[in-house]
Structures are given as C-alpha cells and as structure tokens.
C-alpha cells in the first residue's frame, strides 16, 4: 500500500524541505554509524546526533540505565568524543546518504563552552543546524540551569545566535513550571526553532540493595510513559510561538507522529524507540504514510496543528 500512493510526507523546516518529518533524537542514535548497518539513513527526514561538548567526556559510571513502566531512565552524562573528533571522525561519514540534513546537539557547562562548540560546528559543511541542549538533567552543570530559567536561556540563545551561521534549534526541558515562558524567551532571543521535550528527572530504587539503582542516583525518563506530557507541552507552546516546533517524547508508531503533528509540531524526533527496534524510524515513516492513506490525507502538512481550536498551524 505504502509504495503506490501519492502521500506527500515532506515538511519545511528552517528553509529546507525534509523528505518526511521523522528524525532520530539526540543521544538515541549515536552518530548514525551503527544504525547505518540496518537501513539506508537517507530514508530519514533528518538526523540529530549525540550531544557534543567542547572536550571529550566519559560520562557517568554505570549502571546508567533502568527500565520503568512504559519507559526507561538514563544517566549517560553526555559521553562523547568532543567537538573536534565529532567533526573529523563522525560527521563526514554521513555525507554518503542522500539529502540527509544533520543536526548536531550541543551541550556544555557554561555559555562560553557552548559558544566555542558552535563556533567550530558552524564552519563545518556537514552541519545543517544546531540543537542547543539546555536541558540535560544528567550532569551537574550539564546545562539544565539554562533550561529552567527564561532569562538565562535567552542570554544563551543570544550568545549562540551571535556566532552561528546555521539555524539554531533550542531543545527545552520539561522539568519547569512554565514551558511556554521558556519557549517565548527563546523565540524572542532569536531561536529559529524549538524542540521538546527532553527527559523528565526520575529515580528508581533498587529495593534489594537499598539504594538508587542508577550510579548517578537520578536519571532522565523517556519512552511512551512521557508522551502525554510531551504532547501537552507541544500543544501549549505552539499556541504561543510562531517558530516551528519539533515534537519529542515517547513516539513509537506512525500514529504517535500524527498526534504530535496535530498538536502543532512541524516535525518529530524519535528517541527510545530506536533502542527497542533499530528499524523504528523507517517503520514509523511507513506507518505515517499508511495512516495518511487510510485517512485520505494527501500531505502531512495538513496535519500540523489540526487539533487546535484555531485550526491549522502555519507549518514553517
């Protein structure tokens, strides 16, 4: 069915037309190399690679993972080889895939770190856009303070926009009282797009050992469990900002993508689902196409904001 029908899955994001609105989420796809053994990454709308910091980081001790009802906790702690190696050893590999925009997730400790990483990445021909990770809950000073205070977030965004020659997406934390205020602050400071949500802070107790299961004690909750929280935040944020929003949180199927699009997202990122099934992204794209066929939707753009009272959202 999916092969023969003329559904237009493409969406416009930051001046580019993506084949479809589905991309793997940062930290859930490494730099693409491993999954490339399973399918052609050129099928993806775009790819968001692992958080990149100025220097190499080893991350947190193990255990770093726990399973929870319909979800998981992680406390990876931004392990990555540092921006130099990412640019030299990782990003060029992705050139072989046709029309695959690469978004690099950037993390750090202070504004200066972030600025320095962006200064380097912005010169790379391999980088389509930057996703500012001001929302990682798993590192002390891992950026989450920028993700919970609108003023700090705005200052960060302005500093980054001053040096970036590529579009800047700001990834928001759900661990806030008022995500709309965060979104508005980032938009006003010049963010080109927003992505949400990052993980919610959670904890599991190992009752046999009588201590928190994760070595880091707390971790970030992801997976289907958090989807209703993410959908609501996307809905509320897109009521108030005009820049595009990328929806993230618990997407497992094409139907889930439809839910985020209808809530107002222009595109989505798929995280945890990649761990459950390496073929998750292409399967989800197929399911999205099938859903459109079954519901006589000829372009996914028709779905963006379709559940809103005011009707459709301007997709770009």
């Amino acid at each position: 069915m999916s092969e023969t029908t003329p559904v237009d899955l493409s969406v416009d994001l930051l001046g580019r037309t993506l084949k479809n609105p589905v991309m793997p989420a940062s930290g859930c796809f490494s730099f693409g190399r491993e999954v490339a053994a399973y399918y052609d990454l050129g099928l993806l709308g775009a790819i968001v690679v692992k958080a990149t910091t100025l220097e190499e980081r080893q991350g947190n001790p193990t255990p770093r993972l726990a399973e929870t009802p319909a979800g998981m906790l992680n406390a990876i702690g931004l392990q990555n080889p540092g921006v130099q190696k990412v640019m030299a050893d990782e990003l060029p590999f992705l050139r072989i895939f046709e029309d695959l925009p690469v978004i690099v997730n950037v993390a750090g400790t202070a504004v200066d770190d972030y600025v320095e990483v962006v200064k380097q990445l912005t010169l790379s021909p391999d980088v389509f856009a930057i996703e500012l990770n001001i929302s990682c809950p798993n590192v002390k000073c891992g950026g989450i303070q920028f993700g919970t205070d609108p003023q700090m977030a705005a200052d960060m965004v302005r500093a980054i926009k001053a040096v970036a020659h590529v579009p800047v997406i700001v990834k928001l934390s759900p661990n806030v009282t008022d995500i709309v205020a965060m979104a508005v602050a980032c938009e006003e400071a010049g963010a080109d797009a927003l992505s949400l949500i990052n993980t919610l802070v959670g904890m599991q107790i190992d009752v046999d050992r009588r201590r928190p299961l994760l070595a880091n004690r707390s971790g970030g909750l992801s997976g289907p469990a958090i989807r209703p929280i993410a959908v609501r935040m996307v809905y509320d944020v897109t009521e108030r900002v005009r820049i595009p929003v990328i929806g993230i949180g618990g997407i497992m199927t094409g139907r889930d993508v439809v839910e985020f699009l209808m809530a107002g997202a222009t595109a989505v990122e798929v995280g945890t689902a990649n761990f459950v099934d390496p073929l998750a992204c292409p399967r989800i794209i197929d399911e999205l196409r099938d859903w459109c066929v079954q519901h006589r939707v000829t372009s996914v753009r028709e779905l963006i904001g379709a559940a809103k009272e005011g009707g459709l959202r301007d997709g770009a």
Binding site: G27, C28, F29, S30, R33, E34, V35, Y38, K50, Q58, G59, P61, T62, P63, R64, L65, A66, E67, P69, A70, G71, M72, N74, I76, Q79, G223, P224, A225, M252, T272, N274, F275, V276, D277, P278, L279
Partner: protein, 260 residues
C-alpha cells in the same frame, strides 16, 4: 532483528530455562555467529518490558538453523520470557557484539564461569575443541539445584565445580579452584560471570601469568551501540575510556579491563 519461532522452552534447574528458537540469521554464513556473542531479546510486546534482555548465545545448531540461550528467570522480564512456548513468536536481535577470540596457536584453554555466566562456555568449548584445543572448565554455582551444562561441557573436557554451599563439587568460589597446578600448561583463559567473580579471576590469573578474556555484564539499552548505556572502563594505550560493551564487547582482553 527478526521475529522468529520458538522451538522449545524447557526448565533446566531452579528458575533456569533453556530456550531454543529459529536463528534470525543464516548460521551457515561466514561470521554469522561467534561464541561469546549475545542475543538481544524482547520478552513481550508490552511496554511493561520496553527494553530487550541480553542473553548469551549458548548453542548454535547450524544444520537446523537454531539457537539456544539458557537463562535465569530472576526479574520480571525474564520471568515473562519463561512463559513463552514452542510455536510462539520471539523478537530477537543478533547475534550481537564481539565474542571470544580463538587463537590457533593455543593448545589448552581454561574456561572459568559462574552461574548464568556458564551458558556461553558451551558454544566456546565446542569451537575450541573443533580447533583441536584441550578444554578444561571451572564452574561455580550457588548450589546443586543451580548446576547447568555440566554434562554437556564434560563432552569437551574436564569439568571442575565449586558451589557456595558445597552441595555440589568443592565448597567455595571458582577462584579457589584456580590453583597453580590447574593452570599449568594453560595457554589462555576465558571467563564469564558476575563482576566480583571476574575481578577475582582477573587477579588470580594475572598471578599465574596466563592471558585471557573476560565477558562483561553491563545493563544494555540498545545492544547495538547507540545508547551508550553499557559502557565499562577499558585501558587502551595509556588512557582508560568508557567503552561500549555491546559493540566492542562483551568480551575484552583481561588486561584491558579496569574494575573500579
């Protein structure tokens, strides 16, 4: 990744199960599998068990294209897996990871394993024997009801057993059996088991200067190298780095492995 048919599920001891299923890959292909690799298995399609469970390849039947894992049903996920029956569908990823390297110059290999670290030793013993090596196995169990694969391994060589309570073999730890006499003439050892055992084996074998491999056990998210959850500190060159055990392991040279 593939959905394959379960051929047989069998209790093989106290809370221990042997699960045989059609291989998701053609085992006749070169490099299709290697002892020490693991299968990453979805225990149910429910989100209650979102993550796959890593279980070591215990036995590969090439002619029937079937794989066997042996596992302990301890947590909720493996308990659920133990309800699967012949004819059911199973979602299996793998075989994954790097298994035990086999060195053709070796003449005598020592296999050291504890508890649910024993299963990968069966396919390993089979491969070593096929390459003409002498195999000696030293196994540790909690007690007699937890013994697995003793007879199967005896088909490949001598098997020594230790148990925590002395209900089978020598009372004590596997490392108590790693005497100088036992290690004499051994070219290499291969170990799998809980972390404290591996640490003790590493120390003991370093003492008698036998090189070897350790199969590490870390919690895995993806099993394919994309979540960076399963790392272990590994010393390479001068540096200690957090290396993904699913992709570059689970088997590492003993001297590389850092226990903190």
């Amino acid at each position: 990744m593939a959905t394959v048919e379960v051929v047989e599920q069998m209790a093989v001891g106290d809370g221990l199960f042997s699960l045989r299923f059609r291989s998701p890959v053609d085992l006749r292909l070169a490099g299709a599998y290697h002892p020490g690799q693991f299968l990453h298995i979805r225990v149910s399609d429910s989100f209650d068990f979102l993550l796959r469970r890593p279980l070591s390849l215990c036995k590969a039947d090439v002619s029937r294209n079937e794989l066997t894992v042996i596992y302990r049903a301890q947590g909720e996920g493996t308990k659920r897996l133990s309800r699967v029956r012949a004819g059911d569908q199973l979602d299996v990823l793998g075989p994954l990871g790097r298994g035990f390297p086999i060195h053709d110059g070796d003449r005598h290999a020592l296999l050291v394993a504890g508890g649910i670290g024993v299963p990968p030793m069966l396919e390993l013993a089979h491969a070593l024997k096929a390459r003409g090596q002498q195999v000696t196995a030293v196994l540790g169990f909690q007690n007699a009801r937890h013994v697995i694969l003793q007879e199967e391994l005896m088909a490949y060589g001598t098997v020594h057993i230790a148990s925590d309570d002395g209900t089978v073999g020598t009372k004590g730890l596997v490392t108590d059996l790693l005497t100088d006499a036992l290690c004499t003439g051994v070219n290499r050892y291969y170990a799998c088991g809980p972390t404290p055992m591996l640490r003790a084996v590493q120390a003991a074998m370093q003492g008698c200067s036998v090189p070897g491999y350790l199969s590490l056990e870390e919690r895995m998210g993806c099993g394919i190298g994309i979540c960076v959850g399963c790392v272990h500190p590994i010393r390479r060159g001068g540096d200690v780095k957090q290396v993904k055990t699913c992709k570059e392991g689970p088997v590492f040279s003993s001297e590389e492995v850092v226990f903190t």
